[in-house]
Every structure is written in structure tokens, then in C-alpha cells.
């Protein structure tokens, strides 16, 4: 008799069902594992043997054959330990086959304890899709999986506990977690927007960017507060909906970054400029998500933007446009979501003081040109808001009165997001920054005078067609912040202001 149990393998972000078949037969004692396992899966033999013995069971001296089906997809990771161990025990007559259809996954340690697995939430989603009766997973993945509705989650500390559960010796209640509980834990930051003195224009630009999901480039001398502001963006990010949180958690879980809970805080990714192209965009022989995907629904902050690898920066073109990146390799092609707000910071020139009112710039024209050339036109064009950060005047620094705190700003942003969600409830997108080209005219109507203003600006500053669209989208956000139904002339002129660097560079 062959014992069949169900588990899953990760492919990109999705889980695929895998059947774990175990057979014991006479012949030379051996432990064979087939079905395209990678080395971590092959090593599970040793873990399973020791874990069974240290849980107080006898490891059968028989010819053991384990098949992971379908045999043509590659199995990686250590999550097959648990189903293999259970399969062997069932085959050996120490355990009855489970009467219900469970999805089983977990890595075993040598003493029989269950360790965390990666991609837990994808497993739970698969269980819902397959209409499984429940999932059996390690304790450390319980909270992550339990937020998925319609899946019965049973979590365990050890192999022994799972065996007792399947025997019916112990009752286990299903794990239940509410998403609201996570949101309560949030909003505790040690930094605040009011820490930054002055810089009202930049703060305004950032607020617009976060409200409408636009990308920002901050250009300014060292010490002006670019990084300081960027690091505080996290404190004004609107809360994620459950749906968004599940999608983000899936990406983080596959990368092994989830620590027994759903990601309820919007991601803020801050990779160093030494990051490789694959690290930023994702990839590898068996594609894994990169920083841009980990920043999905959150902020990707690239400090010292020109310092990044040129290929890496150019690779941002597609995800900035489509909100996703498709990684094609000879073996497979996978699309990872990458809908993030890009916040980039750079100096205007190598010495950092070009255009600074207090310092003299020491760079030659050719040096400045070389420096700026590192950020190509197409990338510049894709960044909606360009803002010039000027040094903080000493009067502002010494001002005792703190500026607006993050909570107030966040409330406003939540409001603007709500307006957008309501307006775009029947669309694929939910933010002004993502308005589809076809829908642009419908949602960003402007008056005749405004059109004239836009036309003049286009001619004067020689703006591109993409710039034109971006300006309309920014204007839409500014109008929303003003609670205005229509885009007015003043909204448009403010939006134009944020494309001014198009002209300068």
C-alpha cells in the first residue's frame, strides 16, 4: 500500500499542490527520494530519520521510496520533512492515514521540533483554492496563515504533537487571528515628521506623493534633510487593507522575511547603493523577488540615487511603468508585483553644492554633466515629482514651535486615499499615480483656461507626452487634497512646479 499526503511547492509567489507518496517494501534497506528534489529536499532523509527516532518511534528497516509528484516540477526547501515523516509512520502502521484532506508542511529539527517554513501564506491560499479540510503547519507560521479566511489552520510545536493530533489523542483548536489586532500594534514610531524643521515645500511634495502614489526625486545639498525626511515617510503611510496586507505578506513570506505574523505595516525598503541589479529587481536561476517587489504597496527609498548601478537603475523602467516585473529565465518566467512609490534622493552635483545659496560649487560643468548623466532621461521622466531641497535657514532651525506631526498628516493622507478608492472602485487601479492612460481624460478633466496654461508650459519647458500625463495626475491628487471635484488652475500650476527640473537638466 502506498500512503499519499498533500503538500506544496513554491513557484514564484504561488504554491502548487504536491503529492508526497511513501512506500515501504522489502529489499535492500534504503531511503530513496525521487521527484526532482533539490539538495535541501534530499537532505530531509537524514532529518526525518533522526526526528522519528527522537520522537520515540522506530524508523523502519525497509526499503523506503518517497515520490514527490508531479515529478516534473522542481521541489526546493525543507518543508517536505513533515509529510515524509508522517508518510513513513503511516506506512509502518504506527499511525492511521488521516481521514481528512490536510495540506501538510514543515521542516523538522533533529529532535523532532517543527521549524518555520517560508511561503506559509501561499500555502494557506492554496489550501483555500483546493478546498482542503485544513492545513498542518509549524507553530511559527500559524499567525501568518490564520488571517486567510476559509482555511482551517492547525499549528504544532513538534512531530510528536502532530502524531497525537492525527491519532485523535489531543484536540487542537484552529488558530484564529483578526487583522485588526495587528493594526492596533502599529503607529508606534520613534521618529516623527515634526522632527524636521522647516522644509515646508518638500514636506508638501512628499505628502502629495504619498497621497496619490507618485514617485519623488529630491535634489539638494548634503545635510538639507533629504534622508531625514525620507526615513519619516513610514510614519505617514496610510494603513494597508487586509487584501493589500495578504499580497505583501506573500512576497515577504516567500523571501523568508515574515516572522510569524502578517505584514501589516507598509514596507519601507531602503537598500544601499551597492545593491546588485538582481538584488534590486529580483531574479536568479529560480527567480526570487527583489527589493522593488518587497517594497510592493510601500516605499522604495534610494538614497544617493546616481551611486546605484546603472543597469539596476535602468531596470526600474518597466516596473515604474507597469507596477510589476516579469523575470524570464530559460526554465520559467515569473511576474512579481512591484507597485511601489519610488523616493530617490541625490545631490545636484558631485560636490553637492550646485545652486546652493550658502556654498560655492566646486565642480566643473563637465563633472556635473557626467554626474547627472547617470540618471537617464527616461528614468527622470518616469519620476512624477522633482523637488529641489534647499538647506534649512537658521531661523527655521531655531524655531521652538514644532511643525505638524505625522499623525495629522497621516489622517489627511488617509482621507485623500479614501476619495481615490471611492472614485476608482470599479477600476483596476486605486491611486492617482496609477491612472490608466485610457481613463486619464475621464478622471483628469481640466477647464479651457487650464488647458491653455498647460499648453503654454509644454511649449516653454519642452515637456514630454509622459510629463503631460504625469502633470495631470499630480494635479488630480492636489485637487483631491483640496477636496475639489475638478482640477483648477492653481492645482495645475502647483503640479507644473514639480516638473520644473525637467527643464533644468
Amino acid at each position: 500500500m502506498v500512503t499519499k499526503l498533500f503538500s506544496s511547492s513554491i513557484e514564484g509567489l504561488d504554491s502548487r499542490g504536491v503529492e508526497v507518496e511513501v512506500d515501504l517494501s522489502n529489499g535492500l534497506t534504503a531511503f530513496n527520494l525521487v521527484g526532482l528534489p533539490d539538495s535541501a529536499v534530499k537532505e530531509s532523509k537524514e532529518r526525518v530519520r533522526t526526528a522519528i527516532q527522537s520522537s520515540g518511534f522506530i524508523f523502519p528497516l525497509r526499503r523506503i521510496t518517497v515520490n514527490l509528484a508531479p515529478a516534473d516540477i522542481r521541489k526546493e526547501g525543507s518543508s517536505y520533512d513533515l509529510p515524509i515523516a508522517l508518510g513513513i509512520l503511516i506506512e509502518n502502521g504506527m499511525l492511521e492515514p488521516p481521514r481528512k484532506k490536510y495540506l501538510i508542511a514543515g521542516e523538522l529539527s533533529l529532535n523532532g521540533e517543527l521549524r518555520k517554513l517560508s511561503g506559509g501564506i501561499s500555502l494557506a491560499l492554496l489550501a483555500r483554492e483546493m478546498k482542503a479540510d485544513g492545513i498542518i503547519i509549524p507553530e511559527k507560521n500559524a499567525n501568518e496563515c490564520a488571517v486567510i479566511d476559509g482555511v482551517t489552520v492547525y499549528s504544532f510545536e513538534s512531530l510528536f504533537e502532530v502524531i497525537q493530533f492525527l491519532k485523535g489523542d489531543i484536540e487542537k483548536s484552529e488558530v484564529k487571528v483578526s487583522y485588526e489586532k495587528y493594526l492596533e500594534k502599529l503607529n508606534k514610531y520613534t521618529t516623527d515628521f515634526s522632527d524636521v524643521k522647516g522644509q515646508y515645500l518638500v514636506k508638501r511634495a512628499i505628502e502629495i506623493a504619498i497621497s496619490g502614489g507618485h514617485n519623488v526625486l529630491m535634489i539638494g545639498p548634503p545635510g538639507a534633510g533629504k534622508s531625514m525626511l525620507a526615513k519619516r515617510i513610514l510614519t505617514i503611510m496610510p494603513d494597508m487593507t487586509l487584501d493589500e496586507a495578504i499580497k505583501v505578506t506573500r512576497i515577504h513570506s516567500v523571501s523568508g522575511l515574515v516572522n510569524n505574523e502578517i505584514v501589516s505595516e507598509r514596507p519601507f525598503r531602503n537598500p544601499h547603493s551597492s545593491i546588485s541589479k538582481i538584488g534590486l529587481l529580483g531574479g536568479g536561476t529560480y527567480p526570487r523577488p527583489g527589493e522593488i517587489s518587497l517594497a510592493h504597496r510601500g516605499v522604495l527609498f534610494l538614497d544617493e540615487f546616481p551611486g546605484f548601478n546603472k543597469d539596476a537603475i535602468e531596470g526600474l523602467r518597466e516596473p515604474l511603468e507597469n507596477g510589476a516585473i516579469t523575470i524570464s529565465r530559460s526554465k520559467q518566467s515569473i511576474t512579481f508585483p512591484a507597485n511601489f512609490i519610488l523616493v530617490a534622493a541625490m545631490n545636484p552635483c558631485p560636490c553637492g553644492y550646485y545652486n546652493d545659496p550658502t556654498h560655492e560649487c566646486r565642480c566643473s560643468i563637465s563633472e556635473i554633466q557626467r554626474y547627472r548623466k547617470k540618471i537617464s532621461g527616461p528614468i527622470m521622466d518616469r519620476i512624477d515629482i522633482h523637488i529641489d531641497v534647499q538647506p534649512v535657514p537658521v531661523e527655521d532651525l531655531q524655531k521652538k514651535k514644532a511643525g505638524e506631526n505625522s499623525k495629522e498628516i497621516k489622517e489627511r493622507i488617509e482621507n485623500v486615499r479614501k476619495i481615490q478608492r471611492l472614485r476608482y472602485k470599479e477600476e483596476q487601479f486605486s491611486e492617482n499615480g496609477d491612472i490608466a492612460d485610457r481613463e486619464l481624460e475621464r478622471y483628469c478633466k481640466v477647464s479651457v483656461q487650464s488647458e491653455q496654461l498647460l499648453a503654454d508650459a509644454m511649449r516653454l519647458y519642452k515637456l514630454s507626452a509622459r510629463s503631460y500625463k504625469k502633470i495631470l495626475k499630480i494635479a488630480r491628487t492636489i485637487a483631491d487634497m483640496d477636496s475639489s471635484e475638478n482640477i483648477k488652475e492653481n492645482h495645475l500650476s502647483e503640479a507644473l512646479n514639480y516638473r520644473i527640473l525637467d527643464r533644468e537638466i
Binding site: N26, G27, L28, T29, A30, F31, F59, L61, R62, R63
Partner: protein, 115 residues
Amino acid sequence: MKDKRKIGKKYEEIASQYLMQHNWKILEKNYTFHHKEVDLIIQKEDEICLVEVKYRRSDSFGEPKEFVNENKKRNIKMIAKYYISSKKLFDKNITFGIISITNGKINFERGFFQW
């Protein structure tokens, strides 16, 4: 060298006595094939076990079973293959065992190594 052979013989005898007491049937003693040897081949029900007998005067330098090297294991595997095919034992469960004798204690372990 002659002396060592004698000691081995003595403990192989002790081992087979021990196994018979535990209801194992001795099929072969010092079964050789191509100058490769396995000390005992025993049977109980469906299981046929190829046994290596290892004596050590003391376990201060490690247990006796630690002194069975890869080469020896390889030899036993090869004999197993030959033995199965010559005696047509394809439906039997073949295991590899070791009897360690040290400080007057006899310890029999099946599943000492696997294919």
C-alpha cells in the same frame, strides 16, 4: 596476525551463540566472495541481516562500530548483492547489522548502515 585471527574467530563464535539465543537462524558463517568476507548472515522471518562482528578490548578510543570503515561497508554491500541474486532472495528485507563486543557486553544493532 595469526593471533588476531584467533581472537576474531572466538568472538564470532560468541556472537553467533548470542544471536541463536535471540531466535535468529544462522545462514552462513564467514561467507566469502572474491576475497571479500562478511562474518555472519542471519535470518528471522522475512528479514535477512548481514552482520559484522567487531570486538574491542575497551571503548576508550570509540565504540567498536566506529571502526568499520567505508571500505568494509562497501565490501558487505557487494556481498549482499551477490548473495541476493545467487539465492534468489528478492522478496526478502535485507538489512545490515553489527555486533559490538566490548567489556564483556554484547550489543546487536540492525540498520547499522543503509544502501
